[in-house]
Amino acid sequence: MNTERRKFIKSSCNFCLMAAGGFLLSELSACSPAVKVLKVPVSGNTVTIPLNAFASGPQLIVRPSGWYYDIAVRKKEKNTYEALFLQCTHQQNQLVVDPHGYKCNLHGSQFDEDGKVVKGPAGRPLKRFNTTIGPDQLIIQLKD
């Protein structure tokens, strides 16, 4: 009898944990500041993204195909755009997007949303790519 009760309690607890886990995950998804990711091909030394990709928000993560680093593109005032290379300027590690900008997990460098250093050891701001606006599209020049 005791064994049955123990089994029942155990399975009930497992069910509750699974339900709580699922609920938590969906809640986390709902409250997270998810940034849209756009995978794009590289054509010559440029990538092109449609301007309507910014309809859902001013920030976009662009992932050029075959690259190991993302580009953060932000729509700014007066219809200008800023494209930051998400490679840490300290030791070339990939950066992760956080609510205040970008962070390197390797040595702890932090950059604000404009790519300026907030915390070392990085000493230089993030590299910016030149952008030009075409008809309904933004062109990012990958080489100077």
Binding site: L28, T89, H90, D98, P99, N105, G120
Partner: protein, 424 residues
């Protein structure tokens, strides 16, 4: 001067200018040729601004710290170059890189005597980028356990000394050999990591030093036993949460050797478990940190019995820190941060029964640290703080053959710390 004389002079002058130009060009070319391949790959600040997506580059950087400490109970002051660390990294391609940290602690190792000094590799690993969000590392690296282990630069923590909980309970800088997988998600601000490492060596555990003595740190680690560690980080608004865990075997002996001692060997034999959770908050110049960690070592009694140790089977540590940057509102590059941190830890929170261990009250400690850090730039810091320490009473059974001039143990002590730190 005749026309022919004028042209002759002009010819000589032009020839001289051409000769000087040729010599200058030659010297420049030779100077370039005398740079080794590695030297030509090292970035100057100017180069790196234009480096863009060049696939090959070598980077040299580093960090260091020095401090003065006054121990008021002992009436003793110390001054040391605590750390000088040199980073060398090389990017072979966009996909494969190498990272290393070579550390010299306390400045000088001479004639085989260390006096607390140490030369060691803190990290040396290859990194394989799988895509922009995931990568593998292989070699000697610091796994993601706690806040400090992964990011331990002096400009990135408050206080001259690293938090005591992350020295004595989480033995940072804790590096081992192994393979790690790191990643972050697109849909959520969530980072994760999992790693397989060499295990700890129970024969080297020491009373009063937590599990630090069991680390191999890349030096002939026993690989019959292994460890698994994993961490998850989640960023939400101004908060960042992390949980991490570690489960590792502590017996690296062969099955025959461990059987003869009655200890379980194998990958995760005679295991140690570590669980940690922390949160960080940052907004408008205010920052807060809180961390809790617990270590469980169920077979500590057997280890004490077989190897003549006095190790606990439960240890805990926790701290909370509040800080404010008084220059935040000026939007300046400089920061002046005042902070307070309360730390509590017990390296023998539970001990094996049946006379297999002796309780040591001095391992139950409370530290209150109050101080400031001034960063004129993000990579340079000047720090000062006072640390108030209170411990439990000393166990007289653990005091063996005390020197005749030994002072009675005092449960409270104060330390004054002044230090500098840099990273680049």
């Amino acid at each position: 001067m005749t026309d022919s004389g004028f042209f002759c002079t002009m010819k000589y002058q032009l020839a001289s200018v051409f000769f000087i130009f040729q010599v200058f060009t030659y010297i420049q070319t030779e100077a370039q040729a005398f740079r080794t391949g590695a030297q030509q790959l090292i970035l100057s600040n100017e180069d790196s601004l234009h480096a863009g997506t060049n696939s090959q580059k070598t980077v040299i950087s580093g960090y260091g710290s020095a401090f003065y400490q006054r121990n008021f109970n002992q009436e003793q002051s110390t001054l040391t170059l605590e750390r000088a660390v040199l980073f060398v990294g090389h990017q072979f391609s966009q996909k494969i890189s190498f990272f290393s940290e070579l550390e010299i602690e306390n400045a000088k190792v001479e004639g085989g005597t260390s006096n607390g000094a140490e030369i060691s590799m803190e990290q040396a690993f290859l990194k394989f980028n799988l895509n922009p969000k995931q990568y593998l590392v292989a070699g000697l690296f610091t796994p993601r356990i706690g806040i400090l282990n992964e990011n331990h630069l002096p400009v990135n923590f408050n206080g001259v000394e690293r938090p005591l909980v992350e020295q004595l309970i989480i033995p940072a800088t804790w590096r081992e050999l192994g393979v790690g997988f790191y990643g972050s998600m697109d849909q959520l601000p969530l980072n994760y990591s999992v790693a397989v490492l060499n295990g700890l060596n129970a024969q080297n555990f020491e009373h009063g030093n937590g599990i630090a003595g069991g680390r191999a740190e890349g030096n002939l680690a026993t690989a019959n036993n292994l460890a698994i560690t994993a961490a998850v980080q989640y960023a939400w608004k101004d908060f960042k949460f992390q949980i991490s865990g570690y489960n590792g075997g502590t017996i690296g002996l062969s099955p025959r050797g461990s059987d003869s001692l009655g200890l379980n060997s194998g990958a995760l034999g005679t295991p140690i478990y570590l669980g940690e959770a922390d949160l960080q908050f940052n907004r408008d110049g205010f920052s807060a940190k809180a961390l809790g960690v617990y270590i469980s070592y169920p077979d500590a009694g057997k280890i004490n019995n077989r190897f003549g140790k006095n190790i606990a089977n439960g240890m805990y540590g926790a701290y909370a820190e509040l800080a404010y940057d008084w220059l935040h509102k000026k939007n300046a590059q400089a920061q002046f941060i005042s902070f307070g941190r309360l730390e509590m830890l017990d390296m023998n929170a539970s001990i094996p029964g049946k006379g297999d261990a002796l309780y040591d009250g001095t391992e139950k400690q409370t530290h209150l640290v109050l101080g400031f850090g001034y960063l004129p730039l993000p990579n340079v810091v000047i720090k000062a703080d006072v640390r108030l320490l209170h411990t439990g009473p000393q166990n007289p059974d653990l005091v063996i053959n005390p020197p005749p001039n030994q002072l009675p143990y005092r449960q409270s002590n104060q330390f004054l710390n002044i230090g500098i730190g840099y990273s680049f």
